[in-house]
């Protein structure tokens, strides 16, 4: 598409009427076209007036749910680089980029041949993408209208865990903060508590992070966390470090 053609897309872009590919192409053009950026900003302000004219009183419960979710959400850092080639508005990459940087630093520190570094970087990218996906799923779960949370301290007092569950989605997620890193060769394992019977719900190899629990909520009345050998177990083999009820 020519630059002139792209320029006429300002209206369709501001109204979100482009498909993702066209939108991305237009954003690349936008980065080098201040006049287009100015026009897009004015159109966004114009359309905001149309949107504001639709104002509808939200139910008080909406505010209660939103306010309750704030402490569980990680706020993103500002961009400190020019926003060239930014992806369409989503911008949810603060954490994985940090995670990726940390992984790459580790990979570099480990030394070795370039090929090995390359492979490790690839693994780091895959891990960062997986983290992003987990975080997106977790954030999505938090927005379920019936999402509820319960928080508890880990046995021994180090760190807290928060479980989020939504009966309508039939899903639960777990957020760990400041729990001790499992010893080498071991991992945290999450369990659905089906009235005393523990059902495997996923592995969490670190003491900080989020995990969308695998398997449906079904009739579970809570979750448990144990330390298991790396790779996980089919039944808990140690005393739980945390038990949280869906109440």
């Amino acid at each position: 598409m020519s630059a002139a053609d792209l320029h006429t897309l300002t209206g369709a872009y501001a109204a979100h009427a482009l498909d993702p590919d066209e939108s991305a192409e237009f954003e690349r053009h936008l980065a080098g076209c201040p006049a287009c950026a100015q026009e897009v900003a004015e159109f966004a302000a114009t359309l905001a007036r149309l949107g504001s004219a639709e104002a509808a009183l939200p139910p008080p419960a909406l505010k209660a749910r939103v306010m309750a979710a704030l402490p569980t959400l990680r706020q993103e850092a500002p961009h400190t680089i020019p926003a060239r080639g930014r992806r369409r508005g989503r911008l949810a990459w603060g954490w994985p980029r940090l995670a990726l940087a940390a992984c790459l630093a580790l990979a570099a520190a480990a030394g070795g041949v370039a090929v090995q570094q390359h492979q490790q970087a690839g693994q780091a990218r895959a891990r960062a993408a997986a983290l992003q996906q987990q975080q997106d799923h977790f954030a999505g779960l938090l927005t379920a209208p019936d999402a509820r949370t319960a928080t508890g301290a880990a046995a021994g007092g180090a760190g807290v865990g928060t479980v989020v569950w939504s009966p309508s989605r039939g899903q639960a997620g777990f957020l760990a903060a400041g729990m001790p890193e499992p010893a080498a060769g071991s991992t945290y394992e999450l369990w659905f508590n089906d009235a005393g019977t523990m059902r495997p719900a996923g592995l969490m190899p670190t003491g900080d992070g989020v995990l969308l629990l695998t398997g449906p909520l079904d009739g579970a009345n809570g979750v448990g966390v144990t330390v298991e050998p790396a790779g996980g177990s089919t039944h808990p083999t140690t005393a739980p470090v945390m038990l949280l009820s869906f109440t």
Partner: protein, 194 residues
């Protein structure tokens, strides 16, 4: 420039939204609570206008408001006001939802086309809200029919411009041009950025 024109939308004078958002970016929940009081009604109203389904609209509005909390630090004042920034997020998320369920949306939109009446019973009844609606209506009437239909289908229904072109039986190039010159006329009529 008319005295009722504000770049960050109606409802002003109110709290300084840029200042509030800067506090929100630093994790200030009280500031977010006050920001919420200003932006939640437009967010919910816009999302509901696009999606129509009240339960789904509330869910998307909640996602939007939480995205505002998460990404407050990414707001850049030089690119425009806070309300346009928030409503851009709201519109994008509403449109994403429409397109994610395109088959279902087509069905809904056929039903919606048969009874195309905005829901006004729960519309916020502040005086400035009414004035704003009247001004928007008046300015929409100043557009040509093709401009108005193209913008209405794209903005309120979440159609892509090829879909708009198909529905209106007009060439793609005509539609994208009409959307742009329609917005220019609306911008000037509403006194935005003049």
């Amino acid at each position: 420039m008319s005295a009722v024109v504000h770049l960050s939308g109606p409802g002003l004078p109110g709290p300084d939204l840029k200042e509030l958002l800067a506090k929100v970016a630093r994790g200030d929940q009280d500031a977010f609570s006050r920001l919420y009081d200003t932006v939640a009604a437009p967010v919910l109203g816009l999302v509901r206008r696009v999606l129509r389904d009240p339960a789904q609209s509330e869910e998307v509005a909640q996602e939007v408001l939480l995205e505002v909390w998460r990404t407050a630090a990414r707001y850049r004042a030089e690119r425009g006001g806070v309300m346009p920034w928030v409503l851009t997020i709201a519109h994008r998320r509403a449109v994403d939802r429409v397109r994610a369920a395109q088959a279902a949306a087509d069905r809904d939109q056929r039903a919606a086309a048969a009874s195309h009446t905005p829901v006004f019973d729960e519309v916020a009844e502040q005086v400035e809200g009414r004035l704003e609606r009247e001004q928007v209506r008046r300015c929409m009437k100043s557009l040509t029919e093709l401009q108005r239909e193209a913008l209405t289908l794209a903005y309120y229904r979440g159609y892509t411009y090829p879909q708009v072109a198909e529905v209106l039986g007009a060439p793609l190039g005509t539609i994208k041009t009409r959307m742009r010159d329609g917005l220019i006329r609306l911008r000037d009529c509403l006194g935005v950025g003049a």
